[in-house]
């Protein structure tokens, strides 16, 4: 264990030259990831990195507007209104808040401060979702939303979600994931692959991937487990430049109509910057 040096008399040391506020200002001109890293440089850097001037800058400019849109019943609204900017930043990175009448969640990507959204199942267009024979809506404690959609049985599987690019962070490549899990009695997804697709605006230039959602032993698994216990599979990605490309549409389909499918539980579609997490 290293002995702590008494006072640093090294006059090369910038922390003797620059006051902490200046260091904070300099750090605010870097990125959230850089600031977090800089906490490990020296005690002065560590202290300088905790300033509201820094994290206030990294919060999206419309952050407070978005929060005010949160369901007023949610405790997160009360909580966030009493937080400092630093606290709010880190809170939103770990605890997405539910907005827009409970249909969507909003959070931040820690390394970049960019906006992340999850479209709840209720916000998606799921064919036959309102026919109880095919789909069931239920409450599960492990979902952030009040309801998730459970597939009872269907031949025509068509799940689609859209998001306005103007609410996303500019100059960012976003990736869309379907957030789901299987119930114990799943069927059909090991037999037939599903089509995954993301496109921007009206262009129809997006690529379609075809994968098995529930692959058998020697077939590659494209899904992975999330931190919150759900599974996710990448639907595709798109680049948002200025937010003026209209909507991004993300979909999962299996519509050959020969294979019945059941047991898929959908929480929503998660849209976040590429390489986050």
């Amino acid at each position: 264990m290293r002995n702590r040096k008494a006072i640093n008399t090294n006059n090369e040391d910038i922390t003797n030259i620059l006051p902490e506020e200046c260091i904070s200002y300099i750090l605010s001109l870097t990125s959230p990831a850089d600031v977090c890293r800089s906490k490990l440089v020296s005690p002065v850097f560590r202290s300088a990195a905790d300033s509201d001037t820094i994290w206030g800058k990294f919060l999206p400019s419309d952050c407070y507007d978005i929060i005010s849109n949160a369901s007023s019943s949610s405790s997160s609204k009360l909580l966030t209104s009493s937080m400092s900017k630093t606290q709010l930043y880190f809170h939103l990175c770990k605890n997405p808040i539910i907005i827009d009448n409970g249909t969507m969640s909003f959070g931040l990507d820690k390394a970049t401060g960019k906006k992340c959204y999850m479209l709840g199942a209720r916000r998606l267009s799921i064919s036959w979702a309102n026919t109880p024979r095919y789909w069931r809506w239920k409450r599960v404690p492990e979902s952030r939303f009040s309801e998730v959609a459970e597939l009872k049985e269907v031949w025509w599987l068509d799940v689609k979600g859209t998001i306005e690019t103007k609410i996303l962070s500019p100059n960012t490549t976003y990736v869309a994931y379907l957030v789901y899990k299987f119930s114990s009695s799943r069927y059909g997804f090991e037999k037939k692959p599903v089509d995954l697709h993301v496109e921007l605006g009206e262009s129809d230039a997006g690529r379609t991937f075809r994968i098995f959602l529930d692959p058998s032993a020697n077939i590659p698994q494209f899904s992975r487990e999330r931190e919150d216990g759900w599974m996710e599979v990448k639907l595709g990605e798109f680049f948002n430049e200025h937010g003026d490309d209209g909507k991004a549409t993300c979909s999962l389909r299996e519509v050959d109509n020969y294979t019945p499918k059941k047991g898929l539980i959908i929480e929503g579609i998660d849209i976040r910057p590429k390489d986050s997490r």
């Binding site: 090369e12 040391d13 870097t30 890293r37 800089s38 020296s42």
Partner: protein, 379 residues
Amino acid sequence: MSEVDMAVIKPEMMKSYIWLHTADGSIQQVEQEVAMFCPMICHEVIQKGMGSSKNYAISLPQRVNPAMLSLILDYCRFHQVPGRSNKERKSFDEKFIRMDTKRLCELTSAADSLQLKPLVDLTSRALARIIEGKSPEEIREIFHLPDDLTEEEKLEPLKNTTDDPRIRLLNRLYAKKRKELKERQKLKNIEVEEERVDDRSVDDLLSFINGDNGDSKGIKNSKSKKKNRRRKDQQKNTSANEAIKNHNKEPNGLNQVCCSAEVGQTVRAGVGATSNLHDVEDDIFDNKNELDDGDIDDEIDPALKEKIDRYCSYELRKSSKLTVSNEVTMEVEDFARRLNSDWPERMQEILSFGHERKPVHFSLNGNGSLRRYANSEQR
């Protein structure tokens, strides 16, 4: 102004000058329009009427040495000319900031003290570009900073979300551990000592959790009793600690480890932290500072506490080997898993130092005194 000063100014130009002096005592005069570009100087001239003569030279802040002043004045001299295009200014700026990092920092500091915001922005951005994307070691190298974040400081408090009592508790535990380690550093640095340092702190922390939560949760009466007993026994135990330290007794180290082994075992069995364990820890290695934290307001349930126990045991054992990740964001459950897998290795290490081969347990007699008994259970 004196005759001498008048002679300096060319009559046909009739410029006014402002007198400035830097902290080291040197005085100079500067063309008014250049000096007034700095808000701080401007303020002194207008509000206080300073700077009109040598005797009333404006005292510049200490952070402005003559070299920096010269640079700043160059900057002002260029930019205060109204007719320049943006392109020209940008070009000047780019060339201007080409200097070594140390000078950039000095310049930032000086400009900041003179409130010259455009220059502060320019130099700050240059420094930000230097910092971006670099690792902490690289940054330290560039700025000639010593690596004086001790291990305990690298136990970075997790960034707190105010509604997470686990995080608050962990942060407090970190603070405890840091305090702990600071005290230890005052003692001679024996390797064995280090082993015990870890162990002791683990138990302090464990008992800290228990003692403090005994009150708020009121789950187990024994806990509050222990707390009281601990207060009374503080003196006794502290001196016992001293004695132990001085005589460099291994067994205690081992005991600690074994008590924690107990933690590992009970934890694995999924049982909440045993009261036996807490008895042991509270009374052997009590620490005077433990109860200082006044703001215990966490309602921590036993299962959660257990997780934290595991986390702390692991974390503190590993603190000297901790690889510092750029962002300390590990979750409690993760640590528990690691603790379980690393445990055998660690036990081996510690046992190999000891004089005694068998781990020993302390427990309390009815009258509160310590009793040793051999523990046949061994990891």
